[in-house]
Amino acid sequence: MEKSVNYGGHHDDLNLEATKLRLGLPGIISSDIGYEKQSSSASTVVVVRNNKRASPVGIMTQESSSKSHSNVSDARNGDPNSHHQPPAKAQVVGWPPIRSFRRNSFQQKKTDQGDGAGMYVKVSMDGAPYLRKVDLKVYKSYPELLTALENMFKFTIGEYSEREGYNRSEYAPTYEDKDGDWMLVGDVPWDMFIFSCKRLRIMKGSEARGLGCL
């Protein structure tokens, strides 16, 4: 069923000695194999830089002027004889080859953990006409966050104590966690707080004092 295939028209061009691999450094091998060798069209053209291949950035081939169909977001027309630079982050469809499920879960992780996109949550304050948004990723600890909130809404928050919450002040910062419960800011470690905080609310007045008294 299978026809035998000539590697080229001329077997002597194949240079079988050259194909004998040795486990040595590339410098030695390359001169044996003759990387600079260019023979007739019958044998393989062995050049380091080739002109024929459609590169991921869509450099046009020598043969035709039809558009490269490598599905690249920014296809550039390049001089086929130029040494091409590595593509500057041109995203090639389907590269690197990771499953869509894994790929999608990383985009999601990035939004969850706020890499690049930030971890923005809404902040409401009782009595304020509109809500604000803060990026939790920017802060490393509770005092930093609370100071930022104080500046944003022009109020002061008292000291946090495990026993009395924010009892000294008129306001208490609270947050809604993943289960939908309203919690007092400050009880759990900061890392855990970032994960579970969905939105912030600064409570005021008797409601706040009520929380502090729990």
Partner: protein, 571 residues
């Protein structure tokens, strides 16, 4: 052998387990063919379009376990349009209309609808095991049907599927009478879960050996579950986040000490690294660890964790482990057989990545390594040559350099010699994926040395038709060849058309193959389906000189498929 009654032959064939061996047995003579097919219980269909359900049912009336694969491999990487095909519905319909007592169904890259799952759950009284890998098209409604209707369900294993989450209540659909579960994996589900139902389910499943949770299951629930199921062998945590000073975490530490059977660990989809010490006691006995979705563990915590895992045979990890981390793996995990290093930041700047140094370190420390998937920043010929020398036992070698045409950064040469060393040294190599700057030479080496090669993946490689011809001519056992963005054209495609009937499939996209070439091939080989995918020029029947965007051909007994969408054209 003609003097033996059939039962004796059948008994002998019982010891012949692998699909290939059984296929070989069935080719010996008519008698053996008959005995074999009547006694066959497990069937593997690598391409669902190679045959029809009717053929399957007619040949194997005793079928109990069916594995089906649908879309071509490159569909995993978004190279195949959405409605291409691979529907399981006709199979389930046909099987349910027959007398086949299906017990196990394993699907990969297929489109599965809720309707299919519902029909499946109602059609086979003894149905025991459903495994779905990389499938899509169904929702938690379909899962609810499986839970509710499969009275003897032992295994529900969902791996990396795209599932629409309508509610977490499918878990509550397992009736109280269902106590047969051995394996449950819903890690890929994105939505909420009825935690109480989960705990009750675990409590009434004494045979539960494998449990993989999704992100919605918090640490408290994990604690409760492990209390009830200390016999687990395979555990995938959900969200592993808690206050390390809390009562719950303390309880978890003690509970884990009772779980002496855990050998596979995975998950950590969300993780608070300070809670990791609780799992150190199980690390000692782990043979398989999958942290490839645990982006929250890196740096020193990751290394600390690995240092506990001296018996590891399989490790899946993210490249944030770095070369230094891989050196720790090399010095700790002497039994390592399979390593996968995934990119943690596939499109970003290469700050968190591994290079050739990590791989060489692994090859030095882990001589038993036989399966590798390695996404890296760069690779050198010298490194590949060293790896080939240190690890001659590779069966699967998949290298992915994030910049697909990058040469050896030290010598600026193509990686032909490196891969050449791999194929020459690893005589048992069955699967190979190439990347980096590559010329026709690498294909010459593959054709010459890779005698056992069954699957080859090529991207952005080669100079001319000769490359592809070296492979088609040299690799006698080649079954699957997939090529993208490489300069192979009609000459390579048409020189040996008979070869394709010895293979399962060939994929070529963004190559130099033209419509005329494909037409010629289709005409000469009527037992192949030659499918052209043309998304952009919707059925504009251009000239034969026109290059084909994507071609997928496969051998088949049943001719062109009837469910092909508009953009797929079978020649």
């Amino acid at each position: 052998m003609n003097y033996f009654p059939d039962e004796v032959l059948e008994h002998v064939f019982d010891f012949v387990a692998s699909h290939r061996d059984r296929n070989a047995v069935s080719l010996v003579c008519r008698l053996w063919h008959r005995v074999e097919r009547l006694s066959r219980q497990r069937v593997f269909v690598g391409n669902c379009y190679a045959l029809s359900p009717q053929i399957l049912i007619a040949r194997f009336p005793g079928l109990k376990s069916l594995t089906l694969k649908g879309k071509p491999h490159f569909a995993d990487f978004n190279l195949v349009p959405h409605d291409w095909g691979g529907y399981v519905q006709p199979w389930i319909e046909a099987l349910s209309n027959s007398r086949i007592g299906l017990e196990e169904l394993r699907l990969k890259r297929m489109v599965v609808s809720d309707e299919s799952l519902e029909l499946l759950s109602r059609s086979f009284a003894n149905f025991k095991s459903l495994v779905l890998v990389s499938c899509e098209g169904f929702t938690t409604v379909g899962l609810a049907a499986i839970a509710a209707n499969c009275r003897f369900l032992r295994e529900l294993d969902l791996q990396e599927n795209e599932i629409d989450d309508h509610s977490g209540h499918w878990l509550s659909c397992f009736p109280d009478s269902c106590t047969s579960l051995i394996s449950l994996n819903f890690a890929c589900l994105k939505g909420e879960i009825n935690l109480a139902a989960l705990e009750r389910l675990v409590a009434r499943s004494p045979n539960l050996r494998s449990l993989r949770l999704n992100r919605a299951v918090p640490l408290e629930t994990l604690q409760n579950i492990l209390m009830r199921a200390p016999q687990l062998v395979d555990l995938g945590t959900g969200s592993y986040v808690h206050d390390p000073d809390s009562e719950t975490y303390n309880k978890l530490k003690h509970t884990i000490l009772k779980c002496k059977s855990i050998r596979n660990l995975s998950g950590f989809l969300e993780v608070a690294p300070r809670c990791l010490p609780a799992i150190y006691p199980i690390c000692l006995n782990l043979t398989s660890l999958n942290l490839s979705y645990a982006a929250g563990i890196h740096g020193s915590e990751l290394v600390k964790l690995i240092r506990h895992c001296a018996k590891l045979q399989r490790l899946w990890i993210l490249d944030c482990i770095g070369d230094k981390g891989l050196e720790v793996v090399a010095s700790t995990c002497k039994e390592l057989q399979e390593l996968r290093v995934f990119p943690s930041d596939p499109f970003g700047v290469g700050h968190a990545a591994v290079t050739e140094n990590g791989l060489v370190a692994i090859s030095v420390g882990c001589p038993k390594l036989h399966s590798l998937l390695y996404f890296c920043q760069q690779m050198t010929n010298a490194a590949l040559i060293a790896v080939a020398k240190n690890c001659p036992n590779f069966i699967r070698f998949r290298l992915c350099i994030l910049d697909p045409t990058k040469p050896d950064p030290v010598t600026m040469q193509p990686l032909d010699n490196g891969f050449g060393a791999i194929v020459q040294s690893c005589k048992r190599l069955r699967r190979l994926s190439l990347s980096g700057l590559l010329t026709d030479w690498v294909f010459l080496y593959i054709g010459m040395y890779a005698e056992q090669l069954e699957m080859l993946s090529v991207a952005f490689a080669g100079d001319s038709d000769k490359g592809m011809l070296y492979v088609l001519n040299g690799c006698k056992k080649l079954r699957k060849l997939e090529i993208r963005d490489s300069p192979f054209g009609n000459k390579a495609l048409l020189t040996d058309v008979g070869k394709y009937e010895t293979m399962r499939s060939l994929w070529m996209s963004s190559c130099e193959v033209t419509l005329g070439g494909c037409k010629t091939l289709a005409k000469e080989m009527p037992r192949l389906n030659v499918e052209i995918i043309n998304e952009h020029d919707q059925m504009e029947i251009g000239s034969d000189e026109q290059r084909v965007e994507k071609m997928y051909l496969y051998r088949t007994l049943v001719g062109p498929r009837k469910d092909a969408p508009e953009f797929v054209w079978t020649l």
